[in-house]
Every structure is written in C-alpha cells, then in structure tokens.
C-alpha cells in the first residue's frame, strides 16, 4: 500500500520583485493502483507541483503538507524523497558530462536499495530496460543525457523508472516534444510500471495525445496554481474537443 497525499499546498518562487506564489492550495491524493493526469495550460503551475514534490531548492513551500504513506515528504532532502519511493521523470533531464549511464544507474540503484545490485542480473536488467525503452545497449557507455536527442532523454527517464522501481512516479510533461513512436515507447513504459498494481502515477501533461495510450483513472484540470475541475477520463475527451479556454477565461 502506498498513498501520496497533498493537502493545501502553497509554493512560491523568488523573483526580482520578491516571492511570487505559484501554487495556491493544491489538494490531491494518489493511492496505489491509480493513475492521475494533471492537465493545464502553460504557466498554470503544473511543473512547479512536480518539482515541489521532488524537493527542488528553487521552490519554497509556504503552506500545506505532502505525505507518502504518512511520512512527511517536505521534511526530507531530495535524495531521501527518492529513497522513500518518489520518482520524478523530468521535462528537461540534465546532462552530466563524463558520468556514464551505466555508472549513474548502478549508483542510483545502490542508493535506493541500500545495497549494490548483483552484478550479473543487473547488467541484464539494464540492457533489458534500455531495450524496452528502444535505446541501444551502447547507451550505457554514454555520458548521462549528453548529446541525447529529446526523445532519447525521455526514454532514458522511462528506463530509469523501470529500474529504480519507485512507489509513486511523477511524470512532468514526459510526452512533450516526442514523435509518435517515442510517445508509444514512453506510454508502454508507464503502463508496465502502473500495471504492477501497487504503484501510483501522476502524469502531468499539456496535451491530450498521450492519454490515447495511457488511460488515467482521474483527470484534474490545473489552472492558476490549483485544481479547477476533476473528473474521469471523459474529462480529457472534453478538453481535447474544447481546449482550456473556458478555464483560463474563468481564472482571469
């Protein structure tokens, strides 16, 4: 059992004109076996939510709580959150020159499990995960994200999701900038993860396109730093037809 519970979350960032509130009271509960989609226009605060959950230092939580199975996530450091079972697939995965994918994955797996993976099975697992993400095995010798195409970066995130096997995955616009083939590969990876049963997925997206391949149990429309409407997957169909206009107009 795992539950990610976000209550009345307020988050601000420092700007030249002082702190600016981005999240204005977000409430969301993700139980295991559930896939939630957060959809919203640019600038609505979707990514801020993702990074705040992961603990990026740029964002200051000014109110509310985030708990994972009752544990206070906000009190944890970035790496503690990951070891507690949170995973953030990033919109813009960062290049780490000179650090090989293989070294990076092994170091991360060791940190999360608390012990080094068994060498023989681990190499097989890595190769299999890369293959399922449609990445050549030679990727493990390349520097992390360096010189990867946009699609390769996203598929690399999905390979990590599979290998690190968290409790809850937050996917921040993993679908943006992908061609249809890469989108299918990414979607299949997320579905494999979700089908394990005891996993939670928070899928943040601007577009409805990925929801043809990943069926969310719940859809939340995110506008101006909070959830404006909630529903089932039919809400995504409605958004596809009508866009965000009615919500953004209401917010103005």
């Amino acid at each position: 059992m795992s539950t990610l519970e976000i209550k009345d979350l307020h988050v601000s960032v420092d700007t030249e004109d002082g702190p600016k509130e981005i999240l204005k009271g977000v409430a969301l509960t993700i139980k295991d076996g559930e896939t939630h989609a957060i959809m919203g226009p640019n600038g609505s605060g979707k990514s801020t939510l993702a990074y705040s959950i992961a603990g990026h230092p740029k964002y200051t939580v000014t109110g509310g709580t985030v708990t994972l199975d009752g544990e206070d996530v906000l009190a944890m450091s970035v790496d503690e959150r990951a070891r507690a079972g949170l995973f953030l697939a990033m919109q813009y995965p960062v290049e780490v020159p000179g650090v090989s994918v293989s070294n990076f994955l092994r170091t991360a797996k060791t940190a999360i499990d608390g012990e080094a993976p068994k060498l023989r099975t681990w190499v097989k697992d890595v190769n299999a995960a890369l293959q399922r993400a449609n990445l050549d095995p030679s990727f493990s010798q390349r520097s992390v994200n360096e010189g990867f195409s946009g699609g390769e970066k996203k598929r690399h995130e999905i390979a990590q999701l599979e290998l690190l096997d968290p409790k809850v995955a937050v996917l921040d616009e993993t679908d943006s900038g992908l061609d249809i083939d890469a989108l299918k590969v990414v979607s299949q990876g997320v579905n494999r993860f979700a089908e394990a049963g005891d996993k939670g997925v928070l899928l943040i997206t601007h577009y409805t396109r990925i929801l043809r391949y990943i069926k969310p149990d719940f859809v939340h429309v995110f506008v101006d730093g909070k959830i404006a409407e909630e529903g089932g997957s039919e809400l995504a169909d409605q958004l596809e037809a009508e866009g965000y206009d009615k919500y953004t107009r209401a917010a103005v």
Binding site: D79, V99, N103, S143
Partner: protein, 401 residues
C-alpha cells in the same frame, strides 16, 4: 617550380615580423633580457615570488634529479652541449626561469625518436627529487624524427626546487603525445617551460597534469615550423589548500593552415588554493587559414579558493578558419546535483560523480591508456580530502571571461 627551389623557398621563407606584445616578451637566450621580476610585470603578476625560494636569483648548482627511464627500441638518450641544443632549433627562452635553466643546466639531455619509428609503448622518464633544499636546473630536448609516432611521459615526483626548460621538436609529419605529470611532494617548487616546435603537417598533443607541489608554474608554448601543423594542449590540475598552480599557454601561429586547440580543466579546494590559467594565442599576418580554440574551466569546491583565468587572443589577419575561446569558473551545477539526488544519490556522492565527470572527458582525451586509470584514481584521492567535509557555502572566485 622544382622541388629543390620549393624547399629553398620554404626554408628561407619570409622572416617573421617581430610582434610587440606585453603578453609575450621577446624570446632571448641573453639573461640580460630577462631581469629579475618585481611582481608587477604582466607575466608575473599572479605568481607569489617569495615562494619561489630564490630560484630566480640564478645561483649555480650541480644538484640533479634522479632519472629512471624506459626507452623502447628506436629511442636514444644522450647528452649534448647547450650550443648544440640551440642549433637544433629549439624555441629560445621566453622568460627568466627558462633562460636560467638553459644557462645553468650545463648541457642538455637529448631524447631522440628516430625518423619513421612507430613506438608500441610509451617512452617514460621518471624524474625524482630528494629535497626542496636542492636547486636543480634542467634542460631537456625531445626530438621526434619525421613521420615518427611516439608517446613520451615525463613524471615528476619527490621534492626539489626544479627549474627546467623542455624543447619538443616535432619533425614533419610526425605524431607525438607528450604528457608531463607533476605529482610532487607538498613543498616542491617547479618552474617549467615546454617549448614545442611543430613540423609541417605534424601533430602534437601536450598534456600537463598538476596535482602536487607548493608552487608549480608551467609554460606550454607552441610554434609552427611549417604549414599544416596541429597542436592540442591539454591540462588537468587539482589545487589543495595553500597550493599555487599556474599554467601559461602560448600558441604562436607562425605558419598558415595550422591548428591549436587548448583545453585546461582544474578543480580547487581548501583555504588559499590558487590556480592561474593564462591562454595566449597570436595569429600572425602569415597565419592565414588557421584554426584556434582555447578553453579553461575551473570547478570551485570550497570557500577560500581563487581561480584566475585569462584568455587572450591577438589577431593580425582576419583570413582564418576560426578563432574562439571560453573560460568559466563555477561551483557545482545545482541542476546536476538535483538530478542525481532525485535518483536517491546522496549529496556527497553526487558531488563526487560530478567532479569525476568534470575531469573524465579530459582524461579520456589524454590518449595514454596506461595513465588514465591512475589519473582518475588520483582525482579520487584528491576528492577524498574534501568531499567528506561537504562545504557548500557560496564563494566569489575571481575570473575573467
């Protein structure tokens, strides 16, 4: 045009115009042209002269470093006179330490790689000093014959006050990899000048690696004896508390269609760690069609460090393929740290990975497999001294971009 006429033309060629430059005082064997510096000179302003322990006074000394050599077939080591070394066409001294080394070493060691020799294993010269009380003058000439291929490794360990000039004469069409490793004890003082003359269509890679010593100041200078030569100048340094490590580069494009590519990377940690990198490039009128790029990156790991980085480019012809430089001094990239930590990796380990990665691409470029492992291991040891203490408050490294 007959071959002999062509060759005569090339040899006589137009004499190089003298270019007055405060960055690069004119070269000369005459000690009178290199007065004892006051510290206000452009080329000495970063160097703490007191810590040179009187080297620049130029006292005679017959102390030596002990040499241990590994010479593959096709390589000979002999002794020549100072006059003979000059006649081989080395770059004349460009500063007082180099001029003193030539004047006081009492002759030079000549390492000869036969023309067209292709060495399977590196030439290794292990130079070791016994005490910082010893003042040692060194003069070394590495001559690589035309079309030869060789890797030459110079290791410096132990301690001394060592002032040396090394001439690297690369024959036409030759390909040579010279690696100078400074792994001195904490109190050593080393002033070095490596003057490289690149033959027509020859390629040279020169790598300076500095870990140890109290003060290491090293010049790596390149000139081209003919068109088509390529020089890659690489450097890796790691300065700890109190250490002064200074690298001065000068690529003097004296011939057309030549290339220079400079990449130096350094890390600093601990109170008073000071690194200096000065990269000078001169593109002379004759040097049409050349390509040059120089880059220096410094990674500051703790408070109390200073990294000075000064790229200079003097251009006398615009008819070139390309010229550029980059210099950056920074702390850890927070986004890299966040990415690694978001995968469960603890902060100290994430820092270690980033620093390892910072040097790793350079180490891979060095092209001496025998040394790569050892270099990474040394970086690791250096990091051990610091990573456990963390240290993440902001510093204000000085850097000129």
């Amino acid at each position: 045009m007959t071959d002999s006429v062509r060759s005569a033309l090339e040899q006589d060629g137009p004499t190089l115009e003298r270019v007055d430059s405060h960055l690069n005082p004119p070269a000369s064997y005459d000690l009178a042209d290199h007065p004892v510096p006051t510290g206000r000179e452009e080329v000495w302003r970063f160097t703490p002269l007191k810590r040179l322990r009187g080297i620049l006074d130029g006292e005679a000394s017959d102390a030596h470093l002990t040499w241990e050599t590994s010479l593959p077939a096709g390589v000979t080591l002999s002794t020549i006179t100072t006059e003979e070394a000059r006649e081989l066409g080395e770059l004349p001294p460009n500063e007082r330490p180099a001029a003193l080394a030539v004047a006081l070493a009492g002759g030079a060691a000549l390492l000869d790689v036969a023309a067209e020799a292709e060495l399977d294993e590196p030439v290794v010269l292990r130079l070791k000093g016994t005490s910082v009380d010893d003042l040692v003058w060194g003069h070394l000439v590495l001559r690589i014959g035309a079309h030869a291929r060789a890797t030459i490794v110079l290791e410096h360990t132990g301690s001394a006050r060592y002032c040396a000039t090394t001439s690297v004469l690369v024959g036409d069409g030759a390909e040579v990899n010279v690696l100078s490793l400074h792994d001195w004890d904490d109190d050593a003082v080393h002033l070095a000048r490596d003057g490289i003359r690149v033959g027509r269509d020859a390629r040279v890679r020169h790598t300076a690696i500095s870990f140890g010593g109290d003060l290491v100041r090293m010049h790596a200078n390149v000139e081209y004896a003919g068109p088509g030569g390529e020089a890659e100048l690489l450097g890796l340094y790691f300065a700890d508390a109190g250490q002064h490590i200074e690298h001065r580069l000068f690529a003097d494009h004296t011939a057309p269609n030549t290339k220079s590519h400079v990449v130096y990377k350094g890390a600093l940690q601990g109170q008073g760690a000071h690194t200096v990198w000065v990269g000078n490039v001169l593109i002379r009128k004759v040097a049409v069609g050349i390509e040059t790029y120089e880059e220096n990156r410094n990674l500051v790991l703790t408070d109390g460090c200073q990294a000075d980085s000064v790229p200079n480019l003097e251009i006398e012809t615009g008819e070139i393929e390309g010229a550029g430089h980059a210099s950056a001094t920074g702390r850890f990239d927070d986004e890299q740290l966040f990415y690694l930590r978001s995968r469960g990796i603890e902060e100290a380990e994430a820092r270690r990975l980033v620093v390892h990665g910072f040097f790793n691409d350079l180490v891979r470029k060095v092209g001496v497999p025998e040394l790569e492992e050892r270099l990474l291991a040394t970086v690791e040891e250096e990091l051990e001294k610091n990573v456990s203490h963390g240290g993440s408050a902001p510093a204000s490294p000085r850097g000129t971009v």
